[in-house]
């Protein structure tokens, strides 16, 4: 029978807290240690950009596809970004197929906000004919194995896929837009990285495993850009943070993000 618990046994919860009291975690990490990150880009030929991220035992794949479309009426001079995360049942017995659940949607929207607020893609350079044709950039994320902190893994995968994505060149003749075989990097203006903390009792750890997520009271995700500015925040879970905690985590997250950002691939456009 399946190895994944939906609820954490009380005894394990106690162990986790007892360890935290000593500044330790079940998997041997210190509270502010991020798990090993491995990023492979360009893994999917049919995608314009792609990345597989292994974050400990959490595995996520991102693919970028481009589509030519009419711009949204309220932004005629701008391409569009559409992020879509799916927590598919391949990745965990917790997940089911069906219309996107609130967890899927929350991940999609936080990843979207981080990319959008940081201006990681220069959407205005994705206009083909002003007001008429622009590139839509679709970032589709699939969880392949869920061992906690899917949000940071998804952000890493989405950003890595975008930084290495290429778009076809186009030639415009009169009313006709020709899509050329030649490709160029998509216009990149910044980067974005997210750091997620879990509060378990009075302790806070970074990059929680699935077991730690089961034991946690609340979650705080902070996204930074390459200048170290906060570009998105999302609190989750049924607990709370004090304002001192929040400010402290803002600083700690910045430090961790500076280490993590080096794992991202070099943008093709550089």
């Amino acid at each position: 029978m399946s190895r994944i618990e939906h609820v954490i046994p009380l005894i394990k919860q106690k162990t986790i807290r007892a360890l935290l009291e000593k500044g330790e975690r079940l998997d041997g990490r210190k509270p502010m240690d991020f798990r090993d990150v491995e990023i492979n880009v360009g893994v999917i030929d049919s995608a314009e950009g792609s990345a597989i991220v292994n974050l400990g035992n959490t595995m996520v794949i991102a693919g970028v596809k481009l589509g030519m479309a009419s711009p949204f009426p309220d932004s005629p001079n701008s391409g569009a970004l559409i992020v879509n995360a799916e927590l598919i049942p391949l990745a965990s017995p917790l997940f089911e197929y069906g219309p996107p659940k609130e967890e899927d949607i929350e991940i999609s929207r936080v990843v979207d906000r981080g990319i959008r607020s940081s201006k990681l893609i220069d959407l205005e350079k994705l206009v083909i004919v002003t007001g008429r044709k622009v590139w839509f950039v679709y970032v589709d994320l699939y969880a392949l194995n869920h061992d906690g902190n899917l949000l940071d893994a998804c952000m890493l995968a989405a950003v890595s896929a975008l930084l290495t994505a290429r778009k076809p060149k186009t030639r415009i003749e009169g009313d006709h837009i020709e899509i050329l075989d030649e490709k160029e990097p998509i216009p990149i203006g910044n980067t974005a990285i997210s750091i997620t903390f879990a509060k378990i009792g009075e302790y806070v750890v970074v990059d929680p495993t699935y077991e730690e997520e089961l034991a946690m009271d609340a979650r705080l995700t902070i996204c930074y850009d390459k200048e170290g500015r906060i570009v998105a925040i999302q609190k989750g879970g049924s607990g709370y943070f004090t304002s001192e905690e929040v400010i402290d985590l803002g600083k700690k997250g910045l430090e961790i993000s500076r280490k993590l950002i080096s794992k991202l691939p070099t943008p093709l456009s550089e």
Binding site: P100, S117, I230, K235, T242, S243, I247, G250
Partner: protein
């Protein structure tokens, strides 16, 4: 966050005439909906939002019931006519995400363990939207829950702060939200210094983030008093008929 619309003038006044740390006009009403177990209505600037609480009541489908506590469910929805361009009646991803963060903003305040195997439903209908609807919804939902007699550790009070023309301002309106440089909704249990909702969009340095959080706490303090007043006047007015919306 699109153009260079000037949002703060030379005298430090915002586009609607407010000072940087000034709230919009705010009005609460409690107990406006007859069928609900608890209800509240908020007007905050151009926001008009009705909240109904039903419960504790039986859970359907039953397998969702929790043996040790009540199940809190929240639905945040926008009326099709609450915004400039008619919203589709089907709930979008934004409404689903906001329903989730509102639930997680209210949950820390509720003694859900008092009502095992039941559900508490919070239905939020935005009738007119003018920026900061999620925060206004939370402030109103806390009153509706209190009106329903659900025991709480504290009220929950929320406000959005943001960055506009490089300045940190309180209680963003729709234009500031759209054309400003950053938006940060915050909810707290004020007397417990507990942040129960925190989101952000835009760009904030760590310093700006701290400043914004302080300003949010200040605004929350003012709104908290208005919430308590509304609850008191509810009980004074208990015999009147409400036709407030």
């Amino acid at each position: 966050m699109k153009s260079k619309l000037k949002l703060i003038d030379e005298s430090g006044r915002r586009i609607d005439g407010r000072l940087l740390d000034e709230l919009r006009p705010l009005r609460f009403e409690v107990g406006i909906l007859k069928n609900a177990d608890g209800s509240a209505y908020i007007e905050q600037g151009g926001n008009k939002i009705a909240v109904a609480v039903y419960g504790p009541r039986e859970v359907h489908p039953r397998h969702q019931a929790r043996p040790d506590r009540a199940l809190l469910r929240t639905k945040y929805r926008m009326a099709t006519f609450s915004v400039k361009d008619r919203k589709s009646p089907t709930p979008g991803r934004r409404e689903i995400e906001i329903s989730k963060v509102i639930r997680e903003a209210l949950e820390p305040a509720l003694l859900l363990e008092k009502f095992p195997r039941t559900a508490i439903d919070v239905f939020i209908e935005v009738l007119q939207a003018d920026g900061g609807t999620r925060c206004a919804s939370i402030s109103a939902a806390a009153l509706a829950l209190a009106d329903a007699g659900i025991p709480m550790r504290d009220l929950v009070t929320a406000v959005a702060v943001g960055k506009v023309d490089g300045r940190i301002v309180l209680d963003l309106n729709h234009l500031e939200d759209q054309y400003g440089e950053g938006d940060m909704p915050v909810a707290m249990m004020p007397s417990l210094n507990a942040i129960t909702l925190l989101q952000c969009d835009g760009t904030f340095t760590l310093e700006e983030f701290k400043e914004a959080l302080e300003l949010a706490k200040k605004g929350i303090g003012v709104i908290y008093e208005k919430q308590r007043e509304a609850l008191r006047s509810k009980y004074l007015d208990a015999l009147k008929t409400y036709r407030v919306i």
